[in-house]
Every structure is written in structure tokens, then in C-alpha cells.
């Protein structure tokens, strides 16, 4: 699995997109976000957001 940060028109980071196409919110109760945090804890880094 790979993750990428997503920014909006204001260049604000709004969510994370996983390589299987899920848009994941920054909610600690969201199990996909928990999986992302576990992935980061393993030393991985998401791809940066594209800026406008």
C-alpha cells in the first residue's frame, strides 16, 4: 500500500489517498486512518501533495 497527501485549492492538506483509491479523512476513529498511522509508524512516508 502507498499513500499520498491531498491538498485543496488553498493548498491545505485535506485528506490522504491510498493507492487503492480510497480518500481517507484525518479521523482517529477511522480504521483506514488507523492503518495509515500504523504504516507511518513503520517508518514509511506518504507522497507529498501536489500544489496549485
Amino acid at each position: 500500500m502507498q499513500y499520498k497527501l491531498v491538498s485543496n485549492h488553498r493548498n491545505e492538506i485535506v485528506c490522504i489517498v491510498s493507492s487503492d483509491g480510497k480518500s481517507i479523512p484525518f479521523d482517529p476513529a477511522n480504521s483506514d486512518y488507523q492503518a495509515y498511522l500504523a504504516w507511518v509508524a513503520e517508518g514509511n512516508e506518504p507522497l507529498p501533495a501536489e500544489t496549485e
Binding site: V6, N8, K22, S23, P25, D27, A29
Partner: protein, 362 residues
């Protein structure tokens, strides 16, 4: 028997939400609408029928389908969850092939597990397999450090049998009473020795089945069907807690729902405004059908577009969760090209197979 005496047969239980399992009768399959799903993701649970997940240590060893094999369900039921083994798989000591169900902590809090007042529960279900013998499963906490392995026997092949297991509540360990996993229920389909324990008592280990249980995935083409799954407070299995379809669907939608269009019709999912670049912000505040367990993950199936009042359309590259909440769907949408600033547009599916999925599963 008088009504009063009849009700007395439901000890220590309430009449409302007697069954803590949602979609225990397997009627609801929002994700797949009865299509077969091969379990390929070895890194996480794969949700199949609503509220029911599957996991396999190796990919493509079994499939899950509502009403697989099209056998007649037990009397009183219209549907079941069907597992089909896709290979003769050798199960390693740390491998596991399971189906399961997570009860949210809010729905098991009154059981008071992890305290001296832990309540006894009874789980009942109908099961049918092409194999016979001893099968197993567990009840487990969210920390994977409290497990209760249980076993049951399937006596006759390809015959529905009802099973009932009474479990004394766990007075130890940590059991969540919030919107996390309250109780995890697992049915083993082939579980290795290091994840299998002795039936009938609580353990401080991480188990997902019973030592020596029959392996469904060990036989190519083997089947394992289950329905009428009920977990209730008390030491007696009562009749299945049938709930209205709309009620059961709403219970499921706290964890997952999907938006699609009416076949062949243009359906506007949301309205938003273009920023003059490739972004559109939807501020229409569409409400989820029910308050979701967590802010949902958003994903799309097939393709979407946005279209203005003059039928000019732009292709959507992604629909993001953005500022959505547990109550409201407020996504930001990115297009493949720039759209004019200030233009009011509608989010539309491009085909009947296009779907917007919202998941806050445990």
C-alpha cells in the same frame, strides 16, 4: 404458556436490540449485491456482506458470496453468507482464514466485560458445510489479548444445523465501550496452531479458532454457509431477533453506505462551485443516511463527472473526503482539467455501475 411466562424465557435480556449482531440474517449486501468476492487482500479485512468481514493469510484461497450455491436457507431466513474454498490450502502455524463480525463497543457496553459484573452471553447460528467434524471460532477483544475459543460440531454434510454456545462474560482484560471494537467474533475456516486455543475458557492469548478444528480452505471446493447469527445477553438462545428491513439497513449504514444512480437516469449527487482551477468544493451539506461511526472513507467505483446547466461536463479525477463529518458529506472534487471559476456544477455518475462508497467500518 402465558405471555408473562413466555417473556420470562428471555433471562437478563431486553426486548429491544436483543441480537447484538447486525445483519445476522445476511439479508443486506450493499457492496456486492450478491456477487461473489474472492478474498485477495492479505493486509486487512475485506468486508463482504454488510458488517461481515473475511481475512486470509494468502490471497485467493476462498470466496464469500451472499447465497453462494443457491441452497434453500433454514426456515425463517431468506439469505445466508456462503464461503467457498478455491484451493486445497495448507495452513501454516501462524496462518488464518476466517470470517468475522465486529460489535461496536457502544452496543456491548452493557455487558460490562472486563469487570466483576461481566454478563453471560449466548451465541446461536445456523450452519451448513460440505465437511463434517469439529469447527471453531472465538470471541476476542480489540487488543487481541483476550480470547474465548468455542467449538461446535457439524454432524451431517450439506445440511443446515443450528448451534448454540453460551459464554460466561470475561471479568478481565480491556473491552471497549465506545465506537471502537467492543467484541470481535471470528469463525475459523482454517487457522494455524499458534492462533488456535482450547475451547471453553478465556485466555490472555490472541486466538481466532480452536485447536484441531476442521479446515474449510484445506479442501478445494468445500463450502461453509452461515446465517441467523445472534449474540444475546443471557444463558439461553432465544428465537432470532427479526428486525424490520429498514431498521437493519439503517444499522448497517452506520458503517457503510453507497450512492448510485437510477438505472439509465442522470442523477445529481451534489452541487458545488468551481474555483477556476481543477477543484470543486461541494458545500451542499448532504447528510449521511444516519450518523456514521466515524468520518467515513470515500471511494468511487467506475467514473464520475461534473456538469453545468448548459450540459458542459468535466471528468472527475478524485472525490476526496475533505471536510466531511460523521453527519455530512462535504467533499472536494478534483477534475482532470480546469473548469471556469464560479460555475455551478452537479456531481453525476457516468454509468449505472458508478458508485460513491462511504465506509466507517471497524
Amino acid at each position: 404458556m402465558t405471555k408473562a411466562r413466555d417473556l420470562s424465557q428471555i433471562p437478563n435480556a431486553t426486548l429491544a436490540f436483543r441480537n447484538r449482531i447486525i445483519n445476522g440474517d445476511c439479508r443486506i449486501d450493499q457492496r456486492n449485491a450478491g456477487a461473489s468476492v474472492t478474498i485477495t487482500n492479505t493486509g486487512a479485512n475485506t468486508y463482504t456482506l454488510d458488517r461481515w468481514f473475511a481475512y486470509g493469510s494468502a490471497a485467493s484461497k476462498f470466496s464469500v458470496q451472499q447465497d453462494a450455491g443457491a441452497v434453500t436457507p433454514p426456515t425463517g431466513f431468506t439469505d445466508y453468507l456462503g464461503v467457498t474454498s478455491l484451493a486445497a490450502t495448507s495452513v501454516g502455524s501462524s496462518d488464518q482464514y476466517v470470517i468475522g463480525h465486529f460489535i461496536e463497543g457502544f452496543n456491548s457496553a452493557d455487558l460490562a466485560w472486563g469487570t466483576a459484573n461481566a454478563a453471560t452471553v449466548t451465541m446461536s447460528f445456523w450452519v451448513r458445510s460440505s465437511l463434517t467434524g469439529t469447527f471453531g471460532g472465538v470471541l476476542r477483544n480489540s487488543g487481541f489479548n483476550r480470547s474465548y475459543p468455542f467449538s461446535y460440531t457439524i454432524n451431517a454434510a450439506n445440511t443446515w444445523e443450528q448451534k448454540s454456545i453460551t459464554i460466561v462474560g470475561d471479568t478481565a482484560g480491556t473491552w471497549l465501550t465506545t465506537n471502537g471494537v467492543g467484541i470481535g467474533i471470528y469463525f475459523g475456516l482454517g487457522v494455524g496452531s499458534s492462533l488456535s486455543g482450547t475451547a471453553g475458557s478465556w485466555s490472555g492469548s490472541n486466538f481466532t479458532s480452536v485447536t484441531g478444528a476442521t479446515s474449510v480452505v484445506g479442501t478445494n471446493g468445500a463450502t461453509f454457509y452461515i446465517t441467523g447469527v445472534q449474540l444475546e445477553k443471557g444463558s439461553t438462545a432465544t428465537s432470532f431477533d427479526y428486525r424490520p428491513y429498514g431498521t437493519e439497513l439503517a444499522l448497517c449504514q452506520r458503517y457503510f453506505y453507497s450512492l448510485d444512480r437510477l438505472a439509465g437516469q442522470t442523477t445529481n449527487f451534489a452541487v458545488g462551485t468551481c474555483y477556476g482551477n481543477d477543484w470543486i468544493y461541494i458545500a451542499s451539506g448532504n447528510r449521511h443516511p444516519v450518523e456514521m461511526r466515524a468520518v467515513p472513507t470515500v471511494s468511487t467505483v467506475s467514473t464520475f463527472r461534473v456538469e453545468d446547466a448548459y450540459s458542459t461536463s468535466w471528468t472527475v479525477s478524485q472525490v476526496t473526503a475533505s471536510t466531511s463529518t460523521r453527519n455530512i458529506f462535504n467533499p472536494s472534487i478534483q477534475l482532470t482539467t480546469t473548469a471556469p471559476a464560479g460555475r455551478l456544477v452537479y456531481l453525476q455518475a457516468t454509468s449505472d455501475s458508478s458508485r460513491l462508497n462511504f465506509s466507517s467500518e471497524l
